[in-house]
């Protein structure tokens, strides 16, 4: 390790244990389907393929800052009516601020 450089490459990825924990306890739905957790690389691929980006934070936070092309449907307003504008034939990617 030398001074002047971080001793590791910055990566927002979780460790294998964290990912397994997340998948088992957070992402598995009662019905058995799994919401696929993605990282930046998969996000770019999906967007290039026409995926729809949805920010689920409150409108004020969306107005201040959002990813290019994202639409805003706050979590508290997610229902059949507000999601009617989404194309069911294309993938949907949701995001908020971070892991929390």
């Amino acid at each position: 390790m030398t001074a002047g450089r971080l001793p590791f490459a910055f990566s927002p990825r979780r460790s294998a244990v964290e990912t397994a924990w997340y998948t088992f306890f957070v992402a598995i739905r009662p019905g058995g389907a799994v919401s696929t957790r993605i990282e930046i690389e998969q996000l770019h691929e999906l967007l290039a393929g026409g995926a729809q980006l949805v920010e689920v934070l409150p409108a004020e936070e969306y107005e201040e800052l959002h990813l290019p092309g994202a639409v805003n449907i706050p979590l508290k307003q997610l229902d059949a009516e507000t999601t009617a504008r989404l194309d069911r034939k294309n993938p949907v990617v949701v995001y908020c601020w971070d892991y929390l």
Partner: protein
């Protein structure tokens, strides 16, 4: 929040739902473009330095001192092998016992800021606490870099 939103979309009949859990913080940390009323405001990531002196818990003080001298920084950060910040070792706390370890002299749990923090906001915080430097980390506590108050001045002025 986004996992719940993804789940809700599944219940609404959407079959191909993906959750970009790292979210806006991750996007901003990579310097990617954003839209919105505050899109043009400078953020910590824009002024962050990565020339940080780091060490492990068991690094001898003699080695920490060498790294500090090489970096020119006033403190070293104690991190795990994958970069989680454990403590801070100011140059003034190194002492004379070169055989001691960083763990023995570190201040645990240093405060950190997120890379997406607006520079003006961070400057107010640093001024309020009389600090000259902020440590930048991911939401998980992984070290990304540091930012100096003087660098914030340059960004705002």
């Amino acid at each position: 929040m986004s996992p719940r939103a993804a789940c809700r979309l599944h219940t609404l009949g959407f079959d191909r739902v993906y959750d970009y859990v790292p979210g806006k913080v991750d996007w901003l940390a990579r310097g990617l473009p954003v839209e919105g009323s505050k899109a043009g405001e400078p953020r910590v990531f824009d002024r962050m330095r990565t020339d940080v002196a780091t060490c492990a818990l068991d690094t001898p003080i003699s080695e920490v001192r060498e790294r500090l001298e090489a970096s020119g920084q006033g403190f070293a950060l104690v991190v795990t092998s994958d970069g989680i910040i454990l403590g801070r070792v100011p140059r003034s706390e190194l002492g004379d016992d070169d055989a001691a370890t960083a763990e023995a002299v570190m201040s645990p749990g240093p405060s950190t800021v997120r890379p997406d923090t607006e520079i003006a906001e961070l400057r107010r915080k640093l001024d309020g606490r009389g600090l000259k430097t902020a440590v930048v980390s991911t939401p998980e506590g992984r070290l990304m870099g540091i930012v100096h108050r003087m660098d914030l001045e340059a960004a705002i002025d």
